[in-house]
């Protein structure tokens, strides 16, 4: 036993540089926590990577060289982490941030052929539906936010709202995958995996990409959080709100028994390493036990929010009577702790409370269930922004609030229980912190909120802009797979500078 920790510190230091971050990152898959000094002298770097048990030596080798150009064209990062508050199911844009008085005025009137779109569940005989919530201008900026989000409304001056998002297909699975992987077909790494791959983690006892979830599998499947062809170490670690936070994190043995087992293994495995053809792979596996042993205490400590001051806990909504809100608040507060601990990409999923296929998917009961979703989530999101700000972390942390789609401004028939259907022809998402301009709205939909007409953006543009703030050029963060240099944004995406400070 006894991997020398100074070696680890060395890695931490170098990983601040993008290129070295990638190098240590690549190595980390073979060697748990390598000391570069130990690897390089034995072989050429190319040789090492090609023979590595990683199984993608040649590709990683290519990646390294590509990386050198990255290093040259990379820029100073504005932000270090992203917290992605994923509003699974598609919150309605026209009931949240995209104020459309015309809908009320024309409520019940047929939308007509001209309003029908392939990117929307639409038909000419559907009718416009006004928002059940009042809109007000908030903060100094006067950003429009509806009464559905009273708490988010209070941080309006921090929000950078994009109201002109355009998706591909108005279907959950495809849109979730598009939002998460940049491909509606999926079969590609998640955004968080790319960030982890590109930047590595600054805390070696924690993964670079964490999804705060509650064993919820969103449409599109766990692939939304997967690393696909990127090395598996970049896939999300799932942390649940209820029960043991991370699978297998709670020791099954008493500390004494576990230590005794590890001591036995250390002796036995050291001998095996000497007869293995690749001692380093075995040593890496051995070193993993050291880290795992520490994670057993560090991860639960990180997840343990009981010791947070009561005022902070209440700010997030942990005093709520609603268990789903408490779950969400728990996760949001954990997200802040993870930002502090150096986790790069944190995603919080929405709790599903009524067996719905996806939480925000209100084809009916718009009023009741959008309000419930808002109650469960918005206080915590606002609290996260406030809390990060008061700690001086908001500047270097991006809070992304986004669903995979918006909802139709129209409905088959107006009634008390009616809802809105799938709509990707113009919808809204927003960012806060991390160098995004607060209190602004970008892009416009038409007067009914039915189609993006001014400055339409795609998910690729958002991905490109977010990566840009992390100091990554989206055209240069690549991984060779399937015969080409793949990237998160495929062949699309532009950095939208108008959103940035």
């Amino acid at each position: 036993m006894g991997q020398p920790w100074p070696c680890l510190l060395q890695c931490e230091r170098v990983s601040v540089l993008p290129i070295m971050g990638r190098l240590t990152n690549v190595n980390r898959d073979t060697q748990a926590w390598p000391c570069p000094g130990r690897i390089v002298p034995t072989f050429s770097r190319r040789g090492f990577l090609q023979r590595s048990s990683l199984g993608f030596g040649w590709l990683a080798f290519n990646g390294l060289f590509a990386n050198q150009t990255i290093a040259a064209s990379h820029h100073v990062a504005k932000a270090k982490s992203i917290v992605f508050c994923f509003m699974d199911g598609g919150p309605s844009h026209v009931d949240t941030f995209d104020y459309k008085p015309m809908l009320k005025k024309h409520e019940g009137q047929k939308i007509g052929e001209s309003a029908v779109s392939k990117r929307s569940q639409s038909a000419p005989n559907r009718v416009w539906l006004g928002s059940p919530w009042e809109f007000k201008q908030r903060g100094h900026s006067g950003l429009w936010v509806s009464d559905l989000f009273p708490k988010l409304g209070k941080v309006a001056d921090e929000l950078c709202v994009v109201r002109s998002m355009v998706g591909e297909l108005p279907l959950h699975g495809q849109s979730n995958l598009l939002l998460h992987t940049g491909r509606s077909l999926g079969q590609a790494p998640s955004f968080g995996s790319w960030v982890s791959y590109g930047l590595g983690t600054v805390n070696h006892n924690l993964p670079g990409y964490v999804v705060l979830n509650n064993d919820w599998v969103p449409n599109g499947g766990l692939e939304n959080f997967g690393s696909s062809y990127l090395p598996a170490s970049h896939q999300a670690t799932m942390m649940r709100a209820k029960g043991v936070p991370v699978d297998n994190i709670a020791p099954k043995d008493t500390a004494a028994i576990q230590r005794r087992k590890l001591a036995l293994l250390a002796e036995q495995d050291a001998a095996f390493a000497t007869v293995a053809s690749d001692a380093k792979a075995i040593e890496g596996a051995i070193a993993n036990y050291e880290t795992a042993f520490r994670m057993q205490t560090e991860v639960p400590e990180l997840a343990d929010i009981r010791r947070e001051p009561e005022a902070i806990r209440n700010l997030y909504g942990l005093d709520s009577k609603d268990e789903h809100q408490r779950y969400y608040a728990t996760q949001a507060l954990r997200a802040r702790r993870m930002v502090e601990a150096g986790v790069r990409f944190i995603e919080i999923t929405c709790p599903s409370f009524d067996g719905n296929n996806s939480p925000w998917d209100q084809h009916g009961m718009l009023k009741v269930n959008h309000e419930k979703n808002a109650r469960v989530t918005e206080q915590s999101v606002a609290a996260l922004i406030i809390d990060l700000k008061q700690r001086g972390l908001l500047d270097q942390t991006i809070v992304l609030w986004a669903g995979e789609m918006g909802r139709t401004p129209h409905t088959p028939a107006v009634s008390a229980n009616c809802g809105r259907d799938h709509h990707v022809n113009g919808f809204t998402l927003c960012m806060a912190g991390g160098g995004f301009k607060g209190g602004m709205a970008y892009g416009e939909t038409d007067e009914f909120g039915n189609a993006a007409v001014v400055n339409p953006l795609t998910v690729h543009d958002i991905h490109a802009t977010l990566l840009h703030q992390l100091g990554i050029d989206h055209t240069k963060l690549t991984f060779r797979h399937g015969g080409r240099d793949q990237r998160l944004t495929d062949v699309h995406g532009e950095v939208i500078r108008a959103l940035l400070v």
């Binding site: 898959d29 748990a32 034995t42 072989f43 050429s44 090609q50 023979r51 990683l54 199984g55 993608f56 040649w58 392939k118 297909l169 279907l171 959950h172 699975g173 077909l185 999926g186 993964p207 064993d215 919820w216 599998v217 499947g221 766990l222 692939e223 696909s228 598996a232 170490s233 029960g243 699978d247 297998n248 020791p251 099954k252 028994i257 005794r260 087992k261 036995l264 002796e267 036995q268 495995d269 095996f272 390493a273 293995a276 053809s277 690749d278 792979a281 075995i282 596996a285 051995i286 993993n288 036990y289 795992a292 057993q296 067996g355 296929n357 339409p456 060779r480 399937g482 015969g483 080409r484």
Partner: protein
């Protein structure tokens, strides 16, 4: 810019589009002047530099009318007369984010207006055609690139290779070793020494079966080794090759290659029908050493083979399971008819999997453009798409033909005998003049007259008639006659496609399953009740009833594409139940959701109108099927009312009836022509109430007699079924009667019929070849030409795919298995080498192209491929040869020379230490702990889950998977087994020839704390309590043998025995009986690197 080859076809389309605007095309001197003064200078100044003679960006020239009519990659640049539809105008207006011209600076508004006006006026352009000059360089460019790219090592035909000359010593015998040795000589390297027997044993066992060697096997091997050194290893090889676990191991390898899953993913993760049958097929194929050429033919065209491979032991048509290969991978729900892109994305996924699995070539890249590096054009991609889209992607019965014939014939005989017995009873009833007293009939009548086709209609009218019976009778007849005449006239507009007076289906309609094969009945055939006191469930109308003999029998009727059936509509008279229904399929909609389940017992007309085509949909077809033959059954949760979420559609009774098929243009459906009443109205009118009752009585009587004599008339069935349903005819079998015995026998035989085995496969019978729409730049909204089925042009001289009248899949498969095919054998032999040796001779098993690795030993690869073909494409012979080589038997020792000169072991100077694959880790724990259940085959087993999600059918299974090997765990795309994912189970959506092997702390956490690992350690502890070891040392020795296949050294013995003492329960007196101590020790074994790796 890579140019496209498919220029000419696009010219045709473009011109066709332009023709309607010919009216405004008139060239007047004014228009020519306008062009010359305003338009030409503008084009010259702003456009021609990039879109003229020197450059043709985007394939577009703007220097002649023909050139812009042809357009570039996005299609015609100008639609004369229609500025708003012209791409040129869109581009200069900067309307589209992706199409802004000129790219750097927009034209001035007045310049835009000049172009708009010009186009509006008909875009008169007097310049001479330049298209001819354009077209040839573009083609020549691709042609040159194509020819150049053919010059690539993996595309050269296989040629006989002579092995290096034999020499003295163990490395000089087997040609494979001699090739390797030649490499050593060239690189000045030496092989590692031969590895120790126990290490070799463990290596061989994992390579061939994915399981650790059993202690008994080890003992046998060591004993043989003592006795006769030379043959003992060969004996071991043969023993392991013969093990049924060999098939499980290699099937799993192949499952990686074809991205095997049990579900279809996306939102609903629907079950993939018959996936486990395909998995079991693979296991049998590898265990039975199915020659690879046949294996290829079966997976690509198993449904088309003239002589399918029938497995008599299992009663299965193996060949028909093969094409489930195509159904692997993720399937989007819905269809392109609603949202464009669904089928195109699915086909892309299929092309990718096919080309990687069999050709190690990346064809999917060419969806959007000609390949940037390989000799694959965009047209090739779409031609292959046409091959795959031609057949119907649907369920097939894979039971061996005739499997149930004996039972079915027996049921038919019994049904006849039952009918005869019942006829005796009914005849007696009919002879009784008071069989149906008026008082009984009156009870059945509704207060108001029912519909005219209702059997009760004349009864109500006559039996409640108080006045002039004869007049009433005559009115009835008149009404009947006129209605009948009207209806006959009404029915004349329908084209009868089948009335089922004979057992035939309309031409080009395809049927499947014994339910249809034996489902045709004459009017009045009894449907035998399968339970209860009654003998007949009902009397069937003539037509097809899949449940006519047993509702276990599967049946499907598949309609040709709707627009090819005459008439605008086609109507079928249908009944069905138990999730029998119909499915509307748009361009093979891979997870179509247009499924309807029938719940009516009496057949009713249902109309299927021709649908409009949009979004590249060329064919819409319908399948009418029992649940077992519905390729999308069960559908997503919630779509089949009454079906529990955890019902995966196995072993279900289901039925449909088809009693009429007509085609027509109007909306109405055929009407009942009231035949049932014909015999009632024969003869003179009755004069009294009694007489009219007699007439009714006789109507019934005559129908019964005719039925008993087997001479039923049209309409009798309706009368008799009414009598039966209303209990006016006896329907029970007296105990001990002949009828009762026959009935019991019928039910016994029916009970013995097995539920059908059905899988999603291909059906190409009566299917015309389909062209597939080329998408310009891969954009699903930009339809290009229709491309006919064909194989990649690089193999043009090798195949006759294009000549096929169908998809050409069989021709394609046959061409792949030609003995000198450049890729098939090379790719497969390399895969085997990779699986056996740890890395391929080509390190990228899925890519033999320019982005892949070059072979380390090209001659050896070709030699092996040649030998493989020569030895009958036998996988087992190849593997046997490989594991018998000295190369395989080397130790893992790496010399300093090897480390410095060849760190990647390209020259094979040692056998690499390999981590067990995810499945092998789990399976080893099962095996070593004694929990392994060696049973083969079966339906997928749910992995353990913390949380279930019934709506997505994510259910939790037992922690230990009932002790079954990992290959049998359910591979759900949405949430694959977590334990396996932790150890690099590949992404289930991607074809994977070479797995990643990451090494991360999460794995240590799993091995330390995962409940499965803990449970297996406990199980091992329990098993050890039953053993008779005298001392802790004895027990440690046994555990070493079980876990590592070797004895411990003295140091190790001390180390582990003392650990056992430390790990004991506090206060436990007898260590040997302290289960916890041994479970703890077992747990440590599971965490040992020697357990997780083999060398």
């Amino acid at each position: 810019m890579v140019r496209r080859a498919a220029v000419f076809a696009m010219v045709t389309t473009a011109v066709a589009v332009a023709t309607p605007s010919r009216l405004v095309l008139a060239e007047t001197p004014e228009k020519i002047a306008y062009f010359e003064s305003k338009v030409r200078p503008l084009l010259l100044a702003q456009c021609i530099e990039c879109h003229g003679e020197k450059q043709q960006k985007g394939g577009l020239r703007l220097d002649s009318r023909a050139a812009w009519l042809k357009g570039g990659e996005l299609g015609p640049a100008i639609v004369p007369g229609k500025p708003d539809e012209s791409l040129l105008i869109k581009a200069v207006r900067y309307q589209d984010k992706d199409l802004k011209m000129p790219p750097k600076k927009a034209l001035l508004p007045k310049e835009v207006e000049i172009l708009v006006e010009w186009v509006r006026q008909g875009a008169v352009d007097p310049r001479k055609d330049s298209v001819g000059a354009v077209a040839s360089p573009i083609n020549a460019e691709w042609e040159a690139a194509f020819q150049k790219r053919l010059d690539w090592w993996s595309l050269k035909p296989l040629k006989p290779i002579e092995a290096p000359k034999p020499f003295e010593g163990p490395w000089g015998l087997e040609p494979i070793d001699r090739f390797i040795m030649a490499g050593f000589d060239a690189a000045k390297l030496r092989p590692a020494p031969q590895t120790e027997p126990e290490v070799l044993l463990r290596r061989l066992s994992f390579v061939l079966t994915g399981l650790p060697p059993t202690p008994a096997m080890r003992e046998r091997f060591l004993l043989n080794l003592q006795r006769a050194e030379s043959k003992s290893y060969e004996g071991l090889v043969d023993e392991l090759l013969a093990s049924p676990h060999f098939g499980e191991r290699f099937a799993r390898h192949w499952m990686d290659v074809v991205r095997y899953t049990d579900t279809y993913g996306y939102e609903w993760d629907n079950p993939a029908k018959g996936s486990h049958e395909y998995r079991d097929y693979l296991i049998r194929a590898f265990n039975g050493d199915l020659p690879y050429d046949h294996f290829v033919r079966e997976q690509l065209a198993g449904d088309l083979l003239a002589k399918p491979r029938i497995n008599t032991e299992f009663g299965i048509n193996e060949s028909l399971i093969g094409p489930m290969f195509y159904h692997m991978g993720e399937h989007r729900h819905g269809s392109s008819l609603v949202f464009n892109g669904v089928h195109q994305d699915m086909v892309n996924n299929k092309i990718e999997a096919f080309s990687r699995a069999f050709l190690a070539t990346t064809v999917a890249c060419s969806r959007c453009h000609d390949h940037k590096l390989e000799a694959v054009s965009q047209r090739d991609y779409y031609a292959l798409g046409a091959v795959f889209m031609t057949p119907r992607w649907t369920s097939r019965v894979v039971d061996a033909p005739g499997k149930n014939d004996a039972a079915i014939q027996r049921l038919i005989t019994l049904r006849t005998e039952i009918r005869q017995e019942m006829a005796k009873v009914w005849r007696l009833v009919a002879k009784n003049p008071d069989a149906w007293p008026a008082s009984n009939l009156l009870k059945l009548l509704p207060p108001k007259a029912p519909a005219i086709e209702d059997i009760r209609y004349p009864l109500v009218r006559l039996m409640s008639e108080k006045g002039d019976i004869a007049a009433a009778w005559n009115t009835l007849i008149k009404e009947w006659r006129s209605t009948r005449a009207e209806r006959q006239k009404h029915n004349q507009v329908f084209t009868l496609l089948a009335d089922f007076s004979r057992p035939t289906m309309p031409v080009e309609w395809v049927t499947e399953g014994d339910g249809i094969r034996f489902g045709h009945v004459e009017d009045g055939t009894p449907l035998i009740a399968l339970e209860g006191d009654t003998a007949f469930a009902r009397l069937l109308p003539r037509g097809y009833h899949t449940h006519a003999l047993s509702s276990k029998l599967p049946g499907a009727l598949r309609m040709p594409p709707d627009h090819t059936v005459p008439g605008k509509r086609v109507s079928l008279k249908l009944a069905g139940g138990q999730f029998g229904g119909y499915l509307e399929m748009h361009e093979n909609a891979f997870q179509g959701e247009e499924v309807s389940f029938l719940t009516n017992v009496q057949p009713q007309w249902r109309t299927f109108a021709d649908k409009g085509r949009s979004n590249g949909i060329t064919r819409i077809t319908y399948d009418f099927a029992t649940s077992s033959l519905n390729p999308n059954f069960p559908p997503r949760t919630g779509l089949a009312a009454g079906l529990p979420n955890n019902d995966f559609g196995f072993d279900k009774r289901s039925w449909i009836s088809i009693t009429g098929i007509v085609s027509h243009d109007g909306a109405a459906t055929p009407l009942d022509t009231l035949d049932a009443f014909e015999s009632l109205y024969e003869g003179a009118a009755p004069k009294t109430v009694e007489e009219s009752h007699q007439r009714i009585h006789s109507w019934f009587t005559q129908a019964v007699f005719r039925w008993c004599d087997g001479k039923s008339r049209l309409g009798d069935q309706q009368v008799l079924d009414w009598l039966l349903t209303n209990k006016l005819l006896p329907n029970t079998a007296a105990p001990e009667s002949g009828l009762a015995k026959l009935l019991a026998e019928y039910r016994r035989i029916e009970q013995g019929i097995a539920f059908p085995r059905t899988v999603n496969s291909m059906d190409e019978r009566e299917t015309a070849k389909a062209a597939y729409t080329l998408n310009i730049r891969g954009n699903v909204d930009a339809a290009g030409e229709m491309v006919q089925p064909d194989f990649l042009r690089m193999f043009a001289s090798r195949n006759e795919v294009a000549k096929s009248t169908g998809s050409g899949r069989l021709e394609l498969a046959n061409s792949l298995v030609q003995a000198d095919h450049p890729l098939t054998a090379r790719v497969y032999v390399n895969r085997i080498w990779h699986w056996v040796m740890g890395s391929g001779l080509v390190a990228t098993p899925d890519d033999f192209g320019r982005l892949g690795e070059r072979p380390t030993h090209p001659e050896l690869l070709d030699y092996l491929a040649g030998e493989f073909v020569r030895e009958g494409w036998s996988t087992k012979k190849l593997i046997r040869r490989l594991v018998l080589t000295q190369t395989f038997r080397q130790a893992g020792t790496v010399t300093d020379d090897g480390r410095t000169r060849d760190p990647g072991n390209r020259f094979r100077h040692h056998y690499p230490t390999r981590r067990l694959e995810a499945e092998a880790i789990r399976d080893s724990m099962l095996a070593v702990s004694g929990r392994l259940d060696s049973q083969l085959y079966g339906r997928p087993i749910f992995p353990p889950r913390v949380a279930e999600d019934p709506a997505k059918r994510l259910f939790a299974g037992p922690l230990d998977g009932r002790g079954r090997r990992s290959v049998y765990l359910q591979m759900s795309i949405m949430e694959p087994p977590k334990f396996l994912v932790g150890f690099n189970l590949p992404d289930l959506r991607l074809p994977t020839g070479r797995r990643d092997e990451t090494n991360v702390p999460a794995q240590a956490l799993m091995l330390l704390n995962d409940p499965f690992v803990i449970a297996m350690a406990r199980h091992w502890g329990q098993q050890l309590m039953k053993s008779s070891h005298a001392t802790p040392e004895d027990r440690v020795r046994a555990m070493f043998v079980a876990a590592f296949a070797r004895s411990p050294s003295d140091t190790e013995l001390n180390r582990w025995s003392s650990a056992a003492r430390d790990l004991a329960s506090p206060g436990h007196a007898d260590l040997m009986k302290d289960e916890t101590a041994w479970a703890n020790l077992g747990h440590a074994f599971f965490n040992a690197k020697e357990f997780l790796y083999y060398r």
